[in-house]
Symmetry: D4
Subunit: 163 residues, 8 copies
């Protein structure tokens, strides 16, 4: 199956956080590719990745990075695909504030869809929601997932009320 | 033309900021509807709006709010459509920090695609990018828009270098 | 005894923090109910909880949540009962700033009585103070509790001055 | 009519903000008294005010202050009445952060019900909600007020959708 | 020897931090008293302490507190002695920001001499500097202490350059 | 009269803020000198000023600066006199945060008595309090000043209650 | 004269801030070029600029940008020349925090020499200092400039002391 | 070999962070000296160090400090050499914010080239880049280093894609 989602991150050290995006896509049966692309250490690789993504069939790019996190915004500079940015609270980050602001505060013309700090899982769900705008079967999966979230809470309710 | 984008905001006072989302959608020829939905003052209207949006043909919801900005996240709680959140630096906001954090920091399971403070224009572009994942003509419009952004910079370049 | 205080929280993981509200209510002999209500995963349960609380005899709602903490504010949107919000420094929170601002910065018309980060005990005391505005026996208990706080400090004083 | 709400503030310069608490209480027909009590310049007046409030018939105290805002917390130290704190963005405040944190972050045992920055109106509504826990007629007024808020939004909706 | 410095703190849990103030005063041969005074739990004790300090021979008060740290400012409200405030990063503090702002941002008329977060040692040195403005022998001790600080650095220099 | 207080500031642009220190000292009849000393542009002048101050009869130094405000801390490095730091919200400051943290967060061994942002008046009062530890007449003036502060509040009280 | 310093900025709206870098270079007789290069709107122009700069004789690049300011860091990704970053407090910036953190918090391997918010003048001086490491005549100019700074303060001193 | 880079830091406790600057300089074959210089405890040593550095052959100074970090800025006050500041997240620092702002926010006329929090390695690379503006062999080493960074990422890519 050709991947429709590209998951990239600035460093292998972001993988423990970013894996959650892959995991949820697997759950939804969405094909993805996952690799390392560093804006600062491999800028040409980033440029190639971003400019070729659409041609390869990628529909949404999920990009995670920490500190002065330029990867999501620069990928967005090179493509018209929707780019979802995941601010990572990496070891070189100031409690995540730098990661968040570097990804979120993009200038007019070049948006990045930013999710919460370390929220790679939500990046995956958002990517699914985007694909689902043209895929009713996937949309139904998302409805089922929402029901599952609700059921999980109801399980908690029972457990807590029993105490 | 049936609207495919729903633009909502918590108060009429958010309109000067949020209008930019509508303006860019007009530029891309994308039909939208725009109205006021307050999470705190009209929670049932919000619920109805969010639960009925998909059935009406809406594919993406853009929601702007300021202060303890619950509208984008609560709409996302009620729908599986992608929700784009626009943090508004309203008069009751603390320099926008409350608006940003209330919209961005959603828990796992319920993402909001957050754009920069007051960046309603980018919310509109992101909505177009989402639709374009299944609409090649629109995708080409986005490529042309990117070229236009580049041309605008080159005009600046000439003006500045002439000085 | 019919509960007069409703303690709710967004997730079971908030329970270690929120239990302190229950504990202090027990100390004051105030009946409460405690359960999980997630604004984002069980919005309809939240709506039901909030709209039915008064009818059930609940007089004050204590709601704890972390991150983009919408539970206290959305419950306040659905009820005219006083709502006490407890910002929880949960694992997905940015040092608690998101929890605090999402709960505190409510717009005009829909207040939430916010207490300190993780201060569920104070939420319980505040709930007791509210009930005590119409319950002189409880008011006397609060006076006694205040004396107890003072006595605890005097015990510290003795211990420290002895060193 | 004996006042049941005491509105106090640290300085006359807080009055333009704090007046909104009085205005909404007038709307609800709740008697209040309003005066200046400075924690730092008139600490004994503060002590007297706080210790005598309950005996005079006051049921809720609303205290507004800016900067190192000690008034709400110190009043709470001297009384068992519910104290609502209004952080004021005064000229000597750092964007309101000092006002908020000085009022909100009270230690266990001595809560202050904190509302949003400058949100004196919400302090008034919260005071009414507290009284309404034992006053069904007032509770009905609050329900009507909530409906009014909703109607105000619907008026905005019409105006915006007409454009 | 009658104490000339009063060291107070809001809770016994502040003692590990505040002990450093006592230790440095011992080094300078300055008599002090040290006790627990809680602004919020023992407000009358605080008032008595502050109003009687000068009469007892106290010349400088060092007050440490965390969270909504009202002790230094309220003591300053009750006395004309210099009050040195030590913001404590206690467990209920938000990284110390609340402690710092609650102590530092005092209104005109009532200063608190604030030192760095947890810097009780510097509070002790500052107290000594204040006494030394009228005690040349102590002033000479401070000069010797400054030389000692310099010597300590020179020892580090040797150790580091040897590596 | 030989000055006992030295008021210095990093730039003439700080004078509108720092003048308040001089004004209150005049009120207390305390002789002062006031001049410009820049840590970064005139480091040797700063060194001379700081090392010679005590010999000239100066007992307390008040130093105001903005941005990366090194003047108070560096003066404290060169003298054993008490140094009062006034963080100035200058045009090159980030809302005063840089000024505050650069002055407040001094390392162990070298304290700076920091007052609130722009609070030069409080710096002057604190300097008077320091001198008053060895000058009972001045101490009585401070008591009278405190009474004046209280009277000013009582005047406000009358004015506000009349409304 | 071939330019040795390249001054670039993300938008013409940064020019009023960035002009100060050019002005000080003119004062030092250092040839520069100045143009607009947008990381997000003209990424290929940025890449070309950065990769060709050294070959053209540029020795230092000064890059100014605001918001999610990626220009300095991305230029540094493409060149081994020293890159000086100027965080600009642009209209879309959150008080400059986003500009600062996006430029400063670069990962290991790819430094950006960051100066203060809006401090383009200092960027120019730093560029001169860098060139002066291999140009003794320029080094002497910098010494003279430092003397000039000192003289300017002494002029202030006279003016202030005369008052 | 005469050292061309001076690495200094405020305390031996900064050495674990600052060592990375030395390590990378060794890699580039650049001679350096490393020692402890405290702005606050050894101000005269700092002055001597800064004023004599150029005469000794030092071309760039790297200065690391934490808290109210005055060392980099004060060294820059005494020399016209480029000064690179490394904000250290020391134990007495507030999450590094004080270190960053004290170093970064220098006034016009006296720049400090600030790198990321704890980024001593980048300080070393930046120093090498500065020397390389007049040393083509070193410039080639930096190009090779950049290639190495890229290769390291490609190794990660292989490892991650294999999983």
């Amino acid at each position: 199956m050709t991947p429709t989602i590209g998951i990239i991150m600035g460093s292998e050290s972001d993988l423990p956080v970013m894996q959650a995006a892959a995991d949820i896509l697997i759950k939804f049966g969405i094909a993805y590719e996952l690799t390392i692309v560093s804006a600062h250490r491999t800028p040409d690789r980033m440029r190639t990745y971003a400019t070729e993504a659409k041609g390869k069939g990628i529909k949404v790019i999920i990009a995670g990075a920490g500190g002065a996190a330029h990867l999501p915004g620069m990928v967005a500079a090179y493509t018209t695909l929707p780019v979802i940015g995941v601010p990572v609270r990496s070891s070189n980050s100031i409690d995540g504030w730098d990661s968040i602001l570097s990804i979120l505060q993009m200038p007019n013309g070049v948006p990045v869809a930013t999710v919460a700090l370390n929220a790679a899982k939500n990046a995956g769900i958002l990517a699914a929601q985007i694909l689902a705008t043209a895929d009713e079967a996937l949309a139904q999966q998302l409805v089922a997932y929402k029901t599952q979230l609700e059921d999980d809470v109801m399980t908690m309710v029972e457990r807590v009320e029993k105490k």
